[in-house]
């Protein structure tokens, strides 16, 4: 099987088979990460552009490392603020970079749908590295790889995503991916941060964390953006932490071998207590390692002959 697409824009439109292929490929590449010489020549001569309209050191690093391990050349372009403020439109930026010979764009943007727009503008492939509140497919994939690695499977597991669901692209990619792979997805957060209509998606919705965490195999803790307070989504950090912070006491209600994940960067002591973050159940650093493997797999699968950017 091969990946027959030019772009990776989200997990919503991917099949379980495609997700499985990416996870299998990523798993086989983890061996490379443990070698003394972390370099394979396969993507020599390929140019990959990380085009970031939003800061994210972690995601950019992960993509660039993945590209470099595969011997691709990387160019990183950061545009602060919106493209309109900068004066050059997003479209022109894309066309300019494509004309320089970019084979693949890795795009992070504060606007939902920006990678979809890009995919229509350029012939090269596009990987969504997080768009607005829409999707963050590589995060969803690395979370699934981490779960599969630790639990041996995804199907049949109960996975809780807790926090600011409304503004979270991580939550959206996770719920699509996990539900396609057969997990039961629960989401939990204050009612102000649960988007309207979310109950129509393949999830169980909770506002009470103690109820939501009951018997789950995995807890994925979302970062709470402190600026949400300004718009009245919750009254204070203290109150948020009290009702939605994942603590050791709360974790007792989950399965004894529960996994705790966090996409980072963490607000220790707010959405997750330090004991939990550094505790025996946390697999947060595994997630980071798996992020590199997943991105290597995607680059390989997208830039390969069959999924070639030119013939697509």
């Amino acid at each position: 099987m091969q990946l027959k697409r030019k772009d990776i824009l989200g997990l919503q439109d991917m099949t379980a088979e495609e997700i499985g292929l990416i996870l299998d490929t990523a798993e086989s590449y983890k061996e490379i990460l443990s070698r003394p010489v972390k370099k394979v020549p396969i993507l020599r001569g390929k140019s990959i552009c990380t085009l970031f309209y939003e800061n994210s050191t972690r995601t950019r690093c992960s993509f660039e490392l993945a590209a470099k391990i595969m011997s691709a050349d990387t160019t990183s372009v950061s545009v602060s603020g919106s493209s309109i403020q900068k004066g050059e439109s997003f479209k022109d930026t894309l066309l300019t970079l494509e004309a320089m010979g970019m084979d693949l764009f890795v795009i992070r943007h504060s606007a939902s749908g920006a990678p979809h727009f890009a995919a229509r503008v350029v012939k090269s492939g596009v990987v969504n590295a997080g768009d607005g509140m829409h999707e963050h497919p590589t995060q969803g994939l690395l979370d699934m790889l981490t779960i599969r690695e630790n639990k041996g499977r995804i199907e049949g597991l109960k996975v809780l995503i807790v926090g600011d669901i409304m503004h979270s692209r991580v939550a959206r990619s996770n719920l699509w991916g996990l539900s396609k792979m057969g997990a039961e997805v629960r989401i939990c957060g204050p009612a102000t941060l649960l988007p309207v209509g979310v109950d129509k998606l393949p999830v169980k919705t909770y506002t009470d964390l103690d109820e939501a965490i009951d018997g789950v195999d995995v807890v994925n803790v979302l970062r709470i953006q402190l600026e949400r307070m300004d718009r009245g989504f919750f009254p204070s950090i203290r109150e948020y932490s009290k009702f939605y912070g994942v603590s050791k006491t709360r974790l007792k209600r989950a399965k004894p071998d529960v996994l705790v994940m966090h996409p980072g960067p963490m607000n220790r002591g707010i959405e997750i207590t330090p004991e939990v973050a550094d505790g025996e159940f946390a697999v947060i650093t595994d997630q980071v390692t798996n992020g590199v493997a997943v991105r290597m797999a995607l680059l390989y699968l997208l830039l390969g002959g069959g999924g070639s950017v030119v013939s697509a």
Partner: protein, 458 residues
């Protein structure tokens, strides 16, 4: 020169006319509506009206040339009136000009359009009203304008409403800049009422729509776009209804999109409050699913809603709660739309797709009869704005639209007369086509099959 539209189905909802007959036009005015018999002996021209023969009143020198337009199989209606058009001039001529906007109107069958005041400078004083009307006089169709409710559309100080009405403004509007202060809206209504003009209200509680892009709901949640809750529209509709009740001013609610909005207006009408409203073709033709592919052309304000809302809008049109079909024609330049969704401008062009969408989604689907549909594009807006047009009246200006409800069309934005190409209907296959648009007796758009009959001089 006489123009005779022969053998078409003449529908004039203002007078309940629906019959196959002829329309005779002379000097830009409608001379007669009725069967036309050309003179056989060359001595006199008789027009047969029903049972009785009416002697013609044409001076002989004018009878030398009669132009016949064969309208068999076509529908002849009063020229359409669009009371909600963004002409963009002055200030945004890269999006549309009065010249191109009126060409688009003519192509869409509209003989009268009413410009919105959100230009730059805003239509907020006599000089700009006069400018728009002056530019409109040179245009293909009749151009009217609304005046802004507040100076520079800033929502702070009331504009010189009386002076603008004197200069020709037909209504006051806060379109695109909805008045957030209930107190100011109350004063605007009280003041506008003195001049006997309606207030056209864009109903949106801005505190609920910050950065909003699309209708709040499951599609919005899936796409991760900022939600535009229906309540932001409905709260303002209710507020404005209460203020209309308080002031006695005629309120016209623009672009109603939600089931709750229709219900509010129905309630107000049942209570005898002076309220009318409009909807636009996109709100009974599309749902928020149109944004699933992140198509910025489907981004509009208010946003596209759900199927339940579409059904409620259709029901509101059918039961008369919704008076008017307007287009909210909102042309934008390519660069305004070829950007990220959250940066993209709101609005879509509508003048050149309106009739086909009305025929396809309302008439063919049995929501409205063709007469009812035409009424909402002619007599109804004329009634709301107090215009004498919107009817086929002997002696009145020959503003006429000829349509073929059975024709199939494919929407191609490349063929639009409008400078705006921002339509979500690209490639749609629809029924209903404007065959010709006649303004003051001149065919300003389209073509009619013609046969000319030379008469002997007496």
């Amino acid at each position: 020169m006489l123009l005779v539209l022969r053998g078409g189905r003449v529908i004039d909802p203002s007078r309940g006319v629906d019959e196959v007959t002829d329309v005779i036009i002379r000097n830009g005015h409608i001379q007669y509506i009725g069967p036309f018999s050309p003179p056989t002996n060359g001595s006199s021209l008789l027009v047969n009206r029903g049972q009785k023969e009416v002697p013609n009143s044409f001076p002989s020198q004018e009878t030398t040339n009669i132009k016949f337009y064969d309208c068999a199989g076509l529908v002849i209606t009063p020229g359409f009136i669009d009371m909600h058009v963004h002409l963009r001039e002055p200030g945004f001529e890269h999006k549309e000009t009065i010249a191109t906007g009126t060409e688009a109107a003519a192509a869409g069958g509209f003989t009268t359009i009413v410009a919105t005041p959100n230009t730059k400078p805003a239509v907020d004083n006599r000089a700009v009203v006069e400018y728009v009307l002056e530019r409109g006089r040179a245009a293909l169709v009749n151009v009217l304008t609304t005046g802004a409710a507040t100076k520079c559309n800033e929502g702070a100080e009331m504009a010189e409403i009386g002076d603008m009405v004197e200069a020709g403004a037909v209504a006051i509007s806060d379109d695109a800049f909805p008045l957030q202060s209930a107190d100011l809206m109350r004063r605007v209504m009280e003041y506008a009422k003195m001049f006997n003009i309606p207030v056209l209200a864009h109903c949106e509680d801005k505190s609920m729509t910050r950065d909003a892009v699309m209708n709040e709901g499951v599609t919005c949640t899936v796409l991760g776009l900022r939600p535009w809750p229906r309540q932001a529209e409905e709260i303002m509709i209710w507020r404005n209804i209460l203020l209309a009740d308080l002031t006695g001013c005629a309120l016209h609610v623009q672009h109603v999109t939600t089931a709750g909005g229709v219900e509010a207006i129905k309630w107000a009408k049942s209570r005898g409050i002076r309220v009318t409203c409009e909807t636009c073709p996109q709100y009974f033709s599309l749902t928020d699913d149109a944004l699933t592919s992140f198509d910025t052309n489907a981004k509009c304000n208010p946003p596209l809603r759900t199927q339940a809302d579409v059904d409620a809008i259709k029901a509101g049109l059918a039961d008369g709660t919704i008076d008017v079909i307007a287009t909210d024609h909102a042309p934008h330049a390519r660069e305004d739309k070829e950007v990220e969704m959250q940066e993209a401008a709101f609005g879509m062009v509508g003048l050149e797709t309106a009739l086909s969408l009305v025929i396809t989604n309302l008439v063919k689907s049995g929501v409205l009869s063709i007469g009812e549909a035409i009424e909402k594009m002619t007599a109804a807006p004329a009634r709301v704005l107090g215009l004498s047009s919107g009817a086929l009246i002997e002696g009145g200006s020959a503003d006429i639209t000829v349509i073929d409800p059975e024709a199939n069309v494919t929407i191609r934005s490349s063929e639009f007369k409008s400078l705006g190409r921002n339509t979500p209907f690209e490639g749609f296959e629809l029924a209903g086509r404007v065959v010709a648009t006649i303004v003051a007796g001149e065919v300003v758009s389209g073509e009619l099959r013609c046969g000319e009959l030379m008469m002997e001089k007496k």
